[in-house]
Symmetry: C2
Subunit: 121 residues, 2 copies
DNA sequence: CTGAATCCCTTAAGATACTG
DNA sequence: CAGTATCTTAAGGGATTCAG
C-alpha cells in the first residue's frame, strides 16, 4: 500500500483540495457511474469503463475507499460478489461531477456539430 | 510537440470528455486562477501555483492553448511580457471549476474542523 | 468473480542549462 | 521575463499470474 502522493499546493487553494480527491485518472468517471447507478459491482464498472484496466480500476477504488468517498461491501457468496456505492460524503461530490458531465455533453455536441474545422481527435 | 494522448473511452461518456480537457495535473488550477484574475502572466501563475514547476506550467499552458481554452498574447517589450486569459470557450468551464472550488473549500473546513480522526495528510 | 502481487516497459516530470 | 532542450529519475500502468 503506497502512501498517497499529495498535491503539496498553496495551502488554501480549494481547487487543489478537490483535485486531491478526484484527480485520479478514472476516479471522476467511477463516481459518475455510481451517481447514476447508486450501487454497482466490480465487473459492472469494468464494463462501463472499458479503457480502464482491472488493475487500475482496483487501485482507483482503493483510493476512493481510503478517502471515504466510496463504501465497499463484500458479499461472501460463491462466486464472490462485492458492491460499491457512494458514501454520504461521496455524494457531496455530485454537483462537481454533474457539472463535468453537463459540460462534457454539450462539448460532445459542439464537437460533432462543427468538426469541420476540428480535424484533430 | 507530442501528440496529445487521449482518453479512448466509451464513446459517449461526458465525464471522460471533460477530463480530456481538464485532466492535466494543473490545468484546472490554472483555469481557476484565470477565472479569478481574468488576465495573468507566466510569472504570476508560477507564484500562484508554486508546486508546479516552470516546465510543467509551460506544458500545461501549451495544451490549454491547443484546446482553445486559453488565449496567449505576446507583448514583445523588453523584458518580454505575455498575457494569458480564458477564451470564450474556456469561460464555459467556469461552472465546472467553480463547483470544484466550492466543494474544495467546504472540504477544507471539514478537514480542519475534525482532523481529530483524520490523522493522515 | 474479485481482487492482490510481480514483472517490465512507457510516460511523466524535476533539475539544470540555454535562447529570445 | 518567458520560455525551450536535454538528461535522468520516479512514477504510471499493462499483461500475466496467483489467491479467496
Amino acid at each position: 500500500m503506497t502512501i498517497r502522493k499529495v498535491y503539496d499546493c498553496a495551502p488554501g487553494c480549494p481547487v487543489e483540495s478537490t483535485l486531491q480527491i478526484i484527480a485520479g485518472k478514472w476516479k471522476s468517471v467511477i463516481i459518475y457511474h455510481l451517481i447514476q447507478d447508486h450501487i454497482s459491482h466490480f465487473g459492472t464498472l469494468q464494463r462501463q469503463i472499458p479503457a480502464c484496466s482491472r488493475r487500475m480500476l482496483a487501485l482507483q477504488l482503493q483510493e476512493l475507499i481510503a478517502d471515504q468517498i466510496i463504501v465497499k461491501t463484500i458479499d461472501p457468496a460463491t462466486p464472490l460478489k462485492t458492491t460499491y456505492q457512494l458514501s454520504a460524503f461521496g455524494k457531496t461530490l455530485t454537483p462537481v461531477i454533474m457539472a463535468m458531465a453537463t459540460w462534457g455533453s454539450t462539448y460532445n455536441q459542439h464537437q460533432t456539430a462543427d468538426d469541420s474545422h476540428q480535424s484533430k481527435r
